[in-house]
């Protein structure tokens, strides 16, 4: 197929949708009907379970929980981003020992569950209480909140290092060579030539990582941090009212969808020059 023909094929209008009631349409309308029913059932359930006393008592805690969740995600993402720089550097370095250390770090944090890492840091470091007390770090490891931030920062730094490495590697080698021939040194090349191109590639994985962090942050409720999931568990165990989980699900869903659409919008904005 010639290139010219390819373009005309691409530009041909899509076929008209079939008329009448083909089987796929019946199935589709049934499925959509089910979703609409499920949505109505959800609204109906929330209306039936409506309880002003419950609402006034627990909904304010949801907002404080949401704040804790957001703070955890923002702080650990930023700390993780800073920490990911030396790890990505180690991973890409020509030094065998350095790159093996980087590889081991990334492999450990990507190969074990976040929950296990969180438990290891919060409960596990309790084994070293005398030593930690001696060096004055016990007050840090005693607090679930600090342990959660530490675990999440370490975890996300491993993932972010891989994203960074992949993005930098995705820039063709000629870009380095071209910059070198213009007399830019390595750091300048990285900052002015490579990173602007790499960041476009990295935007989507980075945003996925943030979304995964938002969703993953729910596990800190299992080490007694009062994040959104933590306050939900508390509300449920006190009132045994299932709407506690429904509200949490709605808030998480709204949060993740907002983030996702925001990133899609940013991506459209910064790739305008690549569109044809």
């Amino acid at each position: 197929m010639s290139a010219a023909q390819q373009t005309t094929d691409d530009m041909a209008p899509p076929p008209r949708p079939p008329r009448g009631w083909p089987r796929a349409r019946i199935v589709g309308y049934c499925l959509m009907g089910l979703w609409i029913l499920a949505g109505l059932a959800l609204v109906g359930y929330l209306a039936a379970a409506w309880n002003l006393v419950w609402f006034e008592k627990y909904i304010p805690t949801y907002f404080s929980g949401l704040k804790v969740t957001l703070m955890l995600v923002v702080i650990s993402t930023v700390l993780g981003a800073i920490l990911s720089l030396p790890i990505a550097y180690a991973r890409m370095s020509g030094n065998k020992v350095l790159s093996a250390i980087g590889y081991g770090y990334v492999y450990f944090f990507r190969g074990t569950p976040l929950l296990a890492q969180t438990f290891l840091i919060y409960y596990g470091f309790g084994s070293f209480r005398p030593q930690l007390e001696a060096i004055g770090l016990w007050s840090f490891f005693r607090e679930a909140w600090y342990c959660a931030i530490l675990a999440f920062s370490l975890n996300t730094s491993a993932y972010q290092a891989e994203i960074l490495r992949g993005a930098i590697n995705s820039v063709p080698k000629g870009q380095w060579e071209g910059a070198a021939s213009l007399g830019l040194h390595k750091l300048q090349t990285l900052r002015k030539v490579i990173l602007p191109q790499a960041m476009i590639v990295a935007l989507r994985p980075y945003s996925n990582e943030v979304i995964l962090m938002v969703k993953g942050s729910a596990v800190v409720s299992l080490i007694t941090v009062a994040d959104l999931m933590g306050v939900t568990r508390l509300a449920f165990s006190r009132s045994y009212d299932f709407q506690a989980y429904i509200w949490a699900a709605l808030i998480y869903f709204a949060l993740v969808e907002t983030l996702r659409n925001l990133v899609a919008w940013i991506e459209r904005r910064i790739t305008v020059h690549l569109e044809r």
Partner: protein, 237 residues
Amino acid sequence: MGSIGTLLSWGSDGWLDEIAYGVFVTVSLAVATLPLGLLIGFFVALAKQSSEASVRMAGNIYTTIFRGLPELVTLFLVYYGAQIGIQAVIRTVQPGATVDVNSFISGMVALGVVFSAYVSEVFLSAFRAIPRGQYEGGYAIGLTKGQTMRLVVLPQLIRIALPGLANLWLILLKETALVSAIGLNDILRWSGIAARVEREPFLFYSFAALMYLCLTIISSFGINKIERAVGPQEPAR
């Protein structure tokens, strides 16, 4: 408090047999979830690439919901939701009945729906990588729609989707750790019990992490084997 050797020994003094049982539970949960998730994910992907707009929309809603909820929330929704729901239904017949939902099944369903949402995305992009000509060729030699899908498209689809699916398998394996929160005796829960009883949290939690790492490494070897067995990713044309 014994030495590390005794604590991690097999039998009544040590915890190795309990943790080994936990490994068994973790692996069987992941293995049980896999076919469920693959099957649902495949059909959702089929829906999302349908020519009928309403079918596509129904598929997209499924993915959006289950990718938008934290896994832990989905797990608790399924676990407590099923418990309260089934209990309410049974109480209409037999008042005062209490229902305990099996945490293994709840874990399987919750992880399965989340896994399938991601699987459907992998399959969808694999579907898009298969040229129209493959379908048309199938129809031209007289195969029915189902036969074309099964004999022509599916073998290529699996080959293209394999790296993505392998990634999702590793994620699934790690996510099974969440079921320890609803009381299933997996690796993490047994290690937690051992850590509390023996007052050696660091030892047992790092041992648990090591177990997960072993499972990941074994999986990677298995995946490499399978990938080599099904040949290069690009089908020869």
